[in-house]
């Protein structure tokens, strides 16, 4: 087990390094001039040249990549080009808002998805199943900004139940709900098919044969064992959400990583884009690792030898 975790850790580091390299090369392949971003449209060529020198942009690209790796190893993500603040502290400042929203969003997704998924599987091919299957298809297809705008307009503006965007405790409800409504659909589909698979297994028949109450059969024997693909997806989903709910945060002016990334892309702020991409990629990679380890607890049959 420990050997497995170590092996995975090494690969995690390698993956993140590869992501850094690719992001770095792509970011600097964009035909933009950071010196201009900093100095504005009036800047003289001398000003531009001295900013380039100060940022090390006059050095060859590969050398800059090596230097950047060195920086990252020292926990230094550099300074953002526009505000000239440390990128790491900007990320750390925006992180709590995103974590708060991501956790609330996942909670919303699960609260919506679990009852629907279970009922759809248990009452397979009934009208409930048909309706929820169609609804989840629609849910997957709905763009989150559209759902978000509707919620803002009706629950926020007309009904006055929730704040119109911005960061606050009640303010998390609408963005979390819009991610929940669109994201739950995936969980419903995964949970339903996974439950249907488990239902066919022998031990379920045994459990029923023993005369266990249907409720216990469903929740203790089927549901728990059907959770593995859900947990896998949850890990990826959480990693993805932590990487920044770019559209959701924009729609609700939620001051997290997604809004920061919106801003960074708008300004082609390379240092900030690099930092954020690295962070979100790492979040996904690390969450995958966590999921793999959590498997062991959910299903002792999975071997790590």
């Amino acid at each position: 087990m420990i050997q497995y975790i170590l092996r995975r850790l090494v690969w995690t580091v390698v993956t993140i390094a590869a992501i850094i390299a690719v992001t770095f090369l792509v970011t600097y392949a964009i035909p933009s001039d950071p010196a201009r971003v900093i100095a504005g449209p009036h800047a003289t060529p001398e000003t531009l040249a001295s900013i380039r020198a100060a940022l090390g942009l006059d050095k060859p690209l590969l050398l800059r990549l090596v230097l950047y790796f060195g920086q990252v190893l020292h926990g230094d993500l550099g300074y953002d080009w526009v505000m000239q603040q440390p990128v790491l502290s900007m990320i750390l400042q925006a992180l709590p808002a995103t974590v708060y929203l991501a956790v609330a969003a996942v909670a919303c997704e699960l609260l919506i998805a679990i009852p629907i998924g279970v009922v759809a599987a248990v009452r397979r091919n009934s009208w409930i199943d048909q309706v929820t299957r169609t609804a989840s298809l629609v849910g997957v297809a709905l763009p989150v900004y559209w759902v978000g705008s509707l919620l803002l307009l009706y629950l926020g503006f007309y009904a006055g139940l929730f704040p119109l965007g911005g960061f606050s405790a009640p303010g998390v409800v609408l963005p979390a709900l819009s991610v929940g409504l669109t994201g739950a659909a995936v969980y419903v589909r995964i949970l339903r098919s996974s439950m249907l698979e488990v239902m066919r297994l022998d031990y379920v028949r045994t459990a029923r044969a023993k005369g266990l109450a249907e409720r216990i059969v469903i929740w203790r024997h089927i549901f728990r064992n059907a959770l593995i693909p859900v947990v896998t997806y949850l890990g990826m989903d959480l990693g993805y959400l932590l990487g920044g709910l770019v559209v959701t945060e924009y729609v609700f002016s939620w001051p997290g990583l997604g809004l920061l990334l919106n801003h960074a892309i708008g300004n082609v702020d390379g240092a900030l884009i690099m930092g954020l991409t690295m962070f979100s990629a790492s979040a996904i990679v690390v969450m995958n690792l966590v999921v793999d380890i959590v498997y062991a607890f959910l299903d002792p049959r999975i071997s790590y030898a």
Partner: protein, 569 residues
């Protein structure tokens, strides 16, 4: 200054359009607002003005300043030596100092009004002014290459030496710009190496804001978050990227003391949310320019219509030609394109009528604008004839770049494409991302394009900011995106710029001659003049139907002076 148009507005335009459709079939908003949309919460000591921006407030440090958003709080926190007359936007009047100038325009003597203090009680004197100017023209210590607007003071004697020395400004008045001398604590002398008619305009820019030397020295690079000035408000708190709160400066010396308890500036609030929040009374002021979708919503909502104001701004929208290669190095072809584009249709369809057809580079509000020059009329037949005369083989294939981050830009580009199609010019559109305040592809000296959609709004209301910055050789490959040039034009503009301000009449004549050349040579496709607009809650003004009685002074670069707003609450 390029207008700072908003990233992701394509997305938000869609959202606005959506909410427009929905709101037109919906009812009225729930509680929280009174009939006139005023907020019901009032903090102690008077009301709060709340406004919001789609972007970050980037800085409060004059030595780092480049953007429009930051001007909102900076105008309120700082004073400058001179400023603009509230009644006549483009006239320079004393702020903290009166001045004398020698007839040759080379020596300015500023008499600083006595008893002015920074918000922390430190005195504002000639040393502080010199320090502020030295700091913004120094290459060190802010950023890699000094202040972005440091170049604006290059006419001051000793600018080059000081800038290239790389030394830091000193609060004791020693060193620094040789041409800026402290005579006594209330008197400052500025010597120019050459007369510069618009020099006082540069002293009204936020880059010349007067900072407290003690605080600036104490915080160095971090001065932005600890900014101290002598303006009507002072910085109370700032959660960067979220919101900034300003409160009245207890030491403010000026006649227009703030009538509110707080000024709250919210950052990163999307256009859609701003409109909803304004309708609900959470926002008291929404600055423009509003997008077409937003403006459509204004027109369809009686409350918004009542709160809408056109607030000037001198913005120009134009197409620059790549004049470094055929076919647009030929004036006949450039004229043909001018005749082929129906500007009125663009104004109607893209801006909902918020524009005026453009006849020349200068907007009507700037001295030097020549009212006798007429816009190129829409005349496709004449355009075809000119193309034939120029010997252009049709169909002509060209590439046009435009910033594709707003629906309005995309639609403008498509309209130009359709209209040029009529005269046999096939335009392939290339949308590019806008980076902050400029478009990277514009500056590319290789210019892989023939036409570029672009815009400009004034840094200050002087012809120099348009004619020199946008059409001179010095601005090649930067703000003169298409590298258009004409030797006579260049001579006229250079001469006008080097005259002292006292010879304004002669300057205007020179500019008008230059304007005629740009017009006749069709330096650009002159599209339209635009303006800023704003939504203002009724309680911030005495009479909602009388813009002149607004009590809201809008600076020539269109930031509101919140301390001058009348408050009826």
């Amino acid at each position: 200054m390029r207008t700072k148009l908003r990233w992701a507005t394509t997305l938000s335009t869609g959202l606005v359009a959506l909410s427009l459709v929905l709101s037109s079939c919906g009812g009225q908003p729930a509680a929280k607002t009174g009939g006139n949309g005023t907020t019901t919460t009032q903090p102690q000591g008077g009301p709060t003005i709340t406004t919001a921006f789609t972007s970050n407030i980037e800085t409060l440090d004059p030595a780092k300043w480049t953007d429009m958003t930051s001007m909102y709080p900076m105008e309120m926190i700082y004073d400058t030596l001179v400023t603009y007359d509230p009644a006549q936007g483009s006239k320079i009047v004393p702020d903290v100092a009166t001045w004398d100038v020698t007839p040759d325009g080379l020596k300015y003597t500023f008499h600083i009004k006595p008893g002015i203090k920074f918000s922390n009680g430190d005195p504002l004197d000639a040393y502080a002014v010199k320090y502020s100017l030295d700091r913004v023209t120094s290459k060190s210590p802010i950023g890699g290459g000094g202040a972005p607007y440091g170049f604006a003071y290059s006419a001051i004697q000793g600018y080059k030496e000081w800038n290239s020395s790389g030394q830091k400004a000193s609060p004791d008045g020693k060193g620094g710009l040789a041409g800026v001398k402290v005579i006594d604590p209330q008197t400052l002398e500025i010597d120019l190496s050459t007369p510069q008619a618009f020099f006082l305009n540069t002293l009204a820019l936020m880059s010349a804001a007067i900072v407290d030397p003690k605080v600036a020295e104490q915080y160095g690079k971090d001065f932005s978050t600890h900014a101290v000035g002598s303006g009507p408000f002072k910085l109370d708190s700032w959660q960067q990227g979220l919101q900034m709160t300003l409160v009245p400066n207890p030491n403010y010396w000026g006649p227009n003391k703030p009538k509110v308890a707080k000024l709250v500036l919210k950052e990163n609030v999307s256009d859609t949310l701003q409109l909803l929040q304004f309708r609900q009374g959470e926002l008291d002021f929404v600055g423009g320019p509003l997008t077409t979708a937003e403006y459509a919503q204004v027109l369809s909502d009686p409350k918004l219509k009542n709160d809408y104001f056109k607030v000037g701004g001198n913005i120009i929208y134009y197409l620059a030609f790549n004049t470094t290669k055929p076919p647009f190095n030929n004036p006949l072809v450039r004229q043909a394109v001018n005749y082929a584009i129906d500007k009125q249709q663009i104004i109607q369809n893209i801006t909902n009528g918020r524009g005026q057809v453009m006849s020349q580079p200068l907007p009507p509000g700037i001295p030097g604008y020549d009212p006798s020059l007429q816009p190129y009329p829409y005349d496709p037949a004449k355009a075809k004839q000119l193309l034939q005369q120029a010997g252009v083989k049709l169909p002509l294939k060209v590439t046009m770049i435009y910033p594709s981050n707003t629906q309005d830009h995309i639609r403008t580009a498509q309209m130009v494409q359709q209209q040029l199609q009529q005269i046999g010019i096939d335009v392939s559109l290339q949308g590019i991302s806008q980076v902050g305040t400029y478009w990277p592809t514009e500056d590319d000296p290789t210019k892989p394009w023939e036409i570029a959609w672009t815009d400009w709004f004034q840094d200050y209301p002087d012809a120099q900011d348009f004619l020199y910055n946008l059409l001179s050789k010095d601005a090649f490959n930067s703000t003169n995106v298409g590298n258009w040039t004409d030797p006579t034009f260049e001579q006229l503009v250079t001469k006008a710029d080097s005259l002292p301000a006292s010879q304004q009449e002669q300057r205007v004549q020179l500019f008008q001659q230059a304007e005629k050349i740009a017009h006749d040579q069709a330096s650009w496709v002159f599209l339209y003049y635009g303006w800023y607009d704003a939504l203002i809650q009724p309680w911030l003004r005495p009479d909602p139907h009388d813009p002149a009685g607004l009590g809201v002074y809008l600076h020539p670069v269109s930031t509101p002076r919140f301390n001058m707003m009348s408050v009826q609450k």
